[in-house]
Amino acid sequence: MTEIASDESAQHVLPCGLVHDLRSPLNAILGYSELLIEQTHDAGHDEFIPHLEKIRAAGQQLLAIMEENFQSC
């Protein structure tokens, strides 16, 4: 368990409303990065894909942190 999950005050720092609000922009970050990976591959510019994969991985990491620590939201 991460440090923030063991601290009950974290629930007050990041209320459920904020966690909910973070899901829409995170949906756009993950979705557009995946769309760009597909389009970049189709266009034959595979050299850019590792950078796009890093954006997607960072978004997935952020999602994992949210889901691990704020499951009740």
């Binding site: 909910h20 609000d21 899901r23 829409s24 922009p25 995170l26 949906n27 756009a28 993950l30 979705g31 557009y32 995946e34 769309l35 597909e38 978004g59 999602l63 889901e67 499951q71 009740s72 939201c73």
Partner: protein, 123 residues
């Protein structure tokens, strides 16, 4: 070609999801609020509706109830899309008449699987 009605008020999420579905061969129609979603479902009779639940004018719950109680639209499958991950929201979506439920951020493979289960995979 499968005709999908996407009811979503967030411009970025609407644009992103519609582009991704179009790339996979779906014909995607757009509604930006619940009222427009109900009207377009009645007029266009799509094969499936992807319904965001937090919508202006009429929210997704009410729009779903309206469509599922009307003879001409009650057979159209509806998948609820919501930013809430709680199981109570899944129960609430199914109680409103939704045929399935998915949460944001959208994991496209998972969503396509649910769509395929309701209307069949694209050949």
């Amino acid at each position: 070609m499968r005709r999908i009605l996407l009811v979503e008020d967030n411009e970025m999420n609407r644009d992103m999801l519609s582009r991704r579905l179009q790339r996979r061969g779906y014909d995607v129609m757009i509604a930006v609020d619940g009222q427009e979603g109900v009207r377009m479902a009645q007029e266009e009779s799509p094969d499936l509706i992807l319904m965001d639940m937090s919508l202006p004018l009429i929210d997704g719950w009410e729009a779903t109830r309206t469509l599922k109680t009307a003879v001409e639209t009650k057979m159209i499958p509806i998948i609820a899309l919501t930013a809430h991950a709680m199981s109570t929201d899944r129960d609430k979506a199914l109680a409103a008449g939704c045929d399935d439920y998915d949460t944001k951020p959208i994991e496209l493979t998972r969503l396509l699987g649910k769509m395929d289960a309701l209307i069949g995979a694209l050949s």
